[in-house]
């Protein structure tokens, strides 16, 4: 993204939580910002990259992004790094020692939890990192707070010389709300000063820093006790008082406007005494926190009676539709007020088919999964990205998904741990370019080094597709679209030790070639890498071709094209027929949504009766209707 003139100070802007953080990072005089894309955190770095006077990069993974930010903070620059919750699992190796060294320039780490699992493989609670790494944590409840707390986090970071974690959730990152913005204040780098006892963490050196970390814990707790980010709102209905943080706070205020409530903005270390004083003013204390009972457990350990996960779910968002019935039940009120408008029963949703995400029209992955769906006696270890959708219909061609890059190690384990009955099973791994560079290449190296028998499909579409087509070292482009060296995947895997004759670069739109290559390589009892080389259809590299249409009278209803799984192909009519063999089959007659088709030609190849032809572009484009 190219730099643009930032909106002037005092503007009242409709910003997402991510956009608000980006603005605050820039205003705070931050000089270095790094991230790896991941929903719901991606837009923070994307937007930061549009501001002037700040270095921004897409790092190859979250650990590297944190290390870049650490280096900049050691050099006395304000620095920032953002990641989704699972990103911190990768980055935590650096974090857990960073807490001993601390920083010079302010360092803010934004972690975006996906409460409700809109686009993630798990729902872990990043507030644990504050406890685990002995670091302070802020939790904004909307965009304005995200903006203000980011600025406050830089100040706290420099005041205590330690990084500060900004814990967000999807319901902050992606909610747009009003933010009044301010001026940028530049912060010059103070320079790196040699201090081995602090920056070189040998066992002896680290051992001396641990007591200092405990001292800092105490000072931070005292700071949290008096922080203006922790506020008490009084209320006249004292039957239940609430302690809450993040978006759950807004849901509490919405649901129980008359109840007293304590908001944790500076939520770690927990201001125990402030909460103890608040608890004394209410009949019962309820902790409303997403996801795990962290504050609740600390309060109970401190002898403060409270309820939390005893009455609230430990999974998903704590929205009013969850909170109101739970509190009504606690108070012995049978009717949850506000959920039954005009005295009617809670509305029941209509029964409608599910609409899972699909691969895009003409996606180069379609050819790969169509081919894999035709192969038998195989097990496919998958990875994180758009191609995880290959586990769904109509392909059902992906058997495992765990974490970034895991397809490699898991394929290796499936090979080495196979049962006697599976001795002839072929093991495949499917991984995208960016995931491979993020954490997959080490796994491939392991397969090569330890003699695994795995056929690796490296789907190189030159982008981080699922998060919106961001650049990576395989794109040949940087965060601003600038030219960068482009990874040569064939050379890379060869240098890891894959035999040259076992490396194939294929066009995934050429189905016969793809099919032949995969079928032959799975038979070879050693590691092979098949690299597909066509770009994501959502990035500029993709060039649309002339669309196709179906000649209706030629369609025999065989359904081969439907198995490709392209969303532009629609079944217009079904018909059950008895074959001469006596077998009943269902015919599927199709049409192509010409307005959506970009002419990749994948569906043309399995069409025996040649019913799919280039569309006549002199006629107006038609929308397919049922």
């Amino acid at each position: 993204m190219a730099a643009v003139m930032p909106q002037p100070a005092a503007s009242r802007l409709l910003l997402s939580g991510n956009e608000a953080v980006a603005r605050a990072v820039w205003e705070s005089g931050c000089r270095v910002a790094a991230a790896y894309p991941g929903t719901p955190s991606t837009e923070m770095l994307e937007v930061i990259s549009t501001y002037p006077d700040i270095y921004a990069e897409w790092s190859v993974n979250e650990k590297v992004s944190l290390e870049v930010a650490i280096g900049a903070a050691f050099a006395g620059s304000r620095s920032f790094c953002a990641m989704k919750h699972v990103g911190m699992n990768v980055a935590s190796d650096a974090l857990m020692t960073l807490t001993l060294t601390g920083v010079v320039g302010g360092l803010v780490i934004a972690i975006a939890d996906d409460v409700g699992l809109s686009s993630s493989q798990n729902e872990q609670d990043s507030r644990y990192w504050g406890r685990f790494a002995h670091l302070p944590m802020f939790e904004p409840a909307d965009s304005q707070e995200a903006y203000e707390m980011t600025k406050a986090a830089f100040d706290l970071s420099e005041g205590f010389q330690c990084p500060v974690i900004l814990r967000m959730t999807t319901r902050i990152n992606h909610v747009k709300a009003l933010v009044t913005v301010g001026e940028r204040v530049a912060h010059a780098a103070t320079g790196f000063k040699k201090e081995p006892a602090r920056w070189v963490m040998t066992p002896a050196g680290a051992g001396k820093r641990i007591p200092l970390m405990f001292e800092r814990d105490k000072a931070l707790r005292a700071e949290a006790e008096i922080s203006p980010l922790n506020i008490v709102e009084t209320g006249k209905d004292r039957r239940v008082g609430f302690v809450s943080s993040g978006p759950a706070w807004m849901h509490v205020r919405e649901s129980f406007p008359d109840a007293p409530a304590l908001k944790l903005g500076f939520s770690c270390p927990v201001p125990i005494e402030k909460i103890r004083a608040f608890a004394a003013t209410v009949d019962q204390l309820v902790v409303v926190e997403e996801v795990e009972p962290l504050v609740e457990m600390e309060l109970k350990a401190a002898g403060i009676a409270c309820l939390g996960k005893d009455i609230l779910p430990r999974q998903g968002e704590l929205a009013p539709n969850v909170l109101k019935p739970a509190i009504a039940k606690l108070l012995g009120e049978p009717e949850p007020v506000g959920l039954k408008p005009l005295g009617r029963a809670t509305p029941v949703p209509a029964s409608v088919f599910p609409r899972p995400p699909t691969m895009c029209v003409a996606c180069p992955h379609l050819g790969v999964y169509y081919t894999l769906s035709q192969l038998k006696n195989i097990t496919i270890a998958g990875d994180i990205g758009c191609y995880t959708l290959g586990a769904g219909h109509p392909w059902n061609a992906l058997d495992t998904t765990i974490s970034m890059g895991a397809s490699m190690g898991i394929a290796m384990g499936l090979d080495k741990g196979r049962a006697e009955a599976d001795k002839d099973k072929r093991i495949l791994a499917v991984i995208g370019d960016s995931t491979f560079l993020h954490m997959g290449m080490q796994g491939l190296l392991d397969i090569v080094y330890n003699g695994g028998n795995v056929t690796v499909l490296l789907l190189d579409n030159r982008a981080v597709g699922m998060t919106g087509g961001q650049a990576n070292p395989g794109s040949g482009k940087g965060i601003h679209g600038q030219e960068t060296p482009r990874v040569d995947f064939a050379k890379l895997v060869e240098s890891l030790g894959v035999k040259k004759e076992r490396i194939h670069v294929v066009d995934p739109y050429q189905l016969p070639v793809l099919f032949k290559t995969i079928r032959e390589e799975v038979k070879v009892p050693e590691v092979s890498v098949i690299i597909t080389n066509q770009p994501c259809v959502l990035i500029d590299d993709y060039k649309k071709q002339q669309p196709y249409e179906v000649i209706a009278y030629k369609c025999t209803g065989c359904g081969n094209c439907v198995d490709v799984g392209c969303p532009a192909i629609h079944v217009t009519r079904r018909e059950k027929v008895i074959k001469p063999s006596g077998k009943e089959v269902e015919l599927q007659f199709v049409n192509i949504e010409t307005a959506a088709c970009t002419g990749c030609g994948l569906c043309v190849q399995p069409c025996a009766p040649e019913a799919i032809v280039h569309a006549d572009l002199t006629k107006p484009m038609r929308l397919v209707r049922h």
């Binding site: 809670t346 949703p349 409608v352 995400p357």
Partner: protein, 210 residues
């Protein structure tokens, strides 16, 4: 429009239809009038053709960004089955503005599920008022299917707690900044949407009378 002074508008459809952009323009119109506003989506991987529901709440002060079932003042559906999926979010007797266009997902094409036979009838059977029209066809007549978004905004214009001109200004402001050559055709699409809503309103009154 709402007894607690917060207006709740739910806009639904599928990824790629411009649901989130439409809601954002609506939010900008509300802000231009000095309202507080929050907009949130349930859009899990929506870029890949999944379900999108965009919540807009505006008023003096907005706390939770989410509209709960049974609380929406207005439901705007960009696709027939999606409108049906979310109709229980409306207040009893609430108004539905819906595009009759059907976008069939692969799971229906491959025969795993059926597309609902008559989404409009289903929505009406729950006691909601329905203004239905083919926004995609109107957009195609104007020369670009992407204008469907502005057609839908036009349809909303006479059902908001502020004058239609405020919404039109918000739309045109966006296009005058980014695509000035698209300003006039969007003005037309907006008026076509208003007209389609009026016609659908008359039709629903005629049906009620009959």
């Amino acid at each position: 429009m709402s007894d607690n002074q917060v207006t709740n508008i739910l806009v639904v459809g599928i990824g790629g239809q411009g649901v989130m952009t439409a809601t954002e323009i609506l939010a900008e119109a509300a802000i231009a009038l000095g309202h507080d506003a929050k907009k949130t989506e349930v859009a899990g991987m929506a870029q890949r053709g999944g379900v999108v529901s965009s919540h807009l709440r505006f008023g003096n002060k907005v706390l939770s960004p989410q509209i709960m079932a049974g609380q929406a003042d207005l439901l705007v559906g960009f696709e027939a089955a999606e409108t049906m999926r979310w109709c229980h979010y409306l207040k009893p007797g609430g108004l539905v503005l819906m595009n009759t266009a059907r976008i069939v997902p692969p799971v229906v094409d491959i025969g795993l599920y059926d597309y609902p036979a008559d989404p409009i009838a289903e929505i009406k059977s729950r006691g909601y008022r329905v203004h239905a029209f083919d926004a995609m066809a109107i957009a195609m007549e104007l020369g670009d299917v992407r204008l469907g978004n502005t057609v839908m905004l036009g349809a909303m214009a006479d059902h908001l707690p502020f004058p239609p001109q405020v919404l039109l200004d918000a739309i045109l402001k966006r296009f005058s900044q980014r695509k000035p050559h698209m300003v006039e055709v969007n003005r037309k699409a907006f008026e076509a949407g208003r007209a389609a809503d009026k016609a659908a309103n008359q039709l629903s009154h005629a049906e009620a009378a009959a």
